[in-house]
């Protein structure tokens, strides 16, 4: 399950959501699903069940790490937590700007985050398919 930041109106939150859409809709549509953080905050039963049933990959836009914390509070397991800022530090040329519409740097940063997540998803799927290696 991919759980992105819900920081509406924040550039890094938008990057996290764009990356989540890219992973779940384009890069790994069969292996992943998307859980809205707001549903976890509201205690939605289906959302809580989803993060309890599957390893979660969280994408946080700031150090408050709401996505990771809410997965844990919902009884889920964070298999891997990503911070958009950490990915940006590794890709300084991709300075994100904009909120509703990301600039080119922001879009490229979302691609970079999505690429890293896709790698983690592949590892998780591989472990599930071959539990002895986990």
């Amino acid at each position: 399950m991919i759980v992105p930041c819900s920081g509406i109106g924040k550039t890094y939150g938008t990057v996290s959501r764009e990356a989540a859409y890219e992973v779940t809709e384009d890069r790994r549509p069969g292996a992943t699903g998307l859980v809205a953080l707001s549903l976890l905050v509201l205690g939605d039963a289906d959302a809580r069940a989803a993060v309890r049933a599957h390893p979660a990959v969280t994408i946080d836009g700031c150090k408050l790490a709401c996505a990771a914390k809410m997965v844990q509070e919902s009884g889920g397991h964070v298999a891997q937590g990503f911070a958009v800022l950490d990915v940006y530090r590794r890709n300084r040329q991709l300075k994100p700007q904009g909120i509703a519409e990301l600039n080119e740097g922001g879009q490229q940063l979302a691609h970079a985050v999505a690429e890293e997540i896709a790698t983690v998803v592949d590892e998780l799927v591989s472990c599930e398919e071959a539990p002895d290696r986990a």
């Binding site: 924040k10 890094y12 836009g61 700031c62 150090k63 800022l85 940006y88 530090r89 300084r92």
Partner: protein, 149 residues
């Protein structure tokens, strides 16, 4: 370990270390022998958000009081940090290269920016605020920021 003055504005807690001086812009200065250690205040770092990169002027740079000693890029904005003291940059915090988040995590300690060989510390110090005066100024600034939200 310094002691702190502390206030809560909205949901945010802001600390001011009592053992140093401050510029109104939110930069602290702590005398250590002949050198002055400088850094961003807790209020300034919280106001500007998570630090992505910190570029501090290199060792040997000669600064006038108020000259930009560092450029801090955060998730919200770019912040030019004016030096509260004139002199020569003697040492740059090596943590700024790889873990500038130290500014957010420990603004009065591990998140220091630079050590300055001061040209005239007594004169610069007299132009700065003591902790109590800065605390009162900062509390007002924080209240103004809270109104904007």
């Amino acid at each position: 370990m310094p002691s702190y003055l502390e206030t809560t504005v909205d949901k945010f807690i802001f600390k001011v270390a009592t053992d140093r001086h401050y510029s109104p812009a939110g930069v602290w200065a702590l005398a250590e022998g002949d050198r002055i250690r400088i850094g961003m205040t807790d209020f300034l770092q919280q106001l500007n958000g998570d630090v992505a990169f910190a570029e501090v002027r290199p060792e040997g740079t000669v600064l006038g009081t108020g000259d930009e000693v560092a450029l801090i890029e955060t998730i919200k904005t770019n912040v030019g940090v004016p030096s509260p003291v004139g002199g020569t940059v003697a040492e740059v915090n090596p943590a700024m290269e790889l873990s500038p988040e130290a500014i957010n995590q420990d603004p009065y300690g591990a998140g220091w920016l630079a050590l300055i060989d001061a040209r005239d510390w007594p004169t610069d110090r007299d132009a700065l605020l003591d902790a109590q005066a800065y605390f009162e100024l900062m509390t007002g600034q924080a209240a103004e920021e809270a109104k904007k939200r």
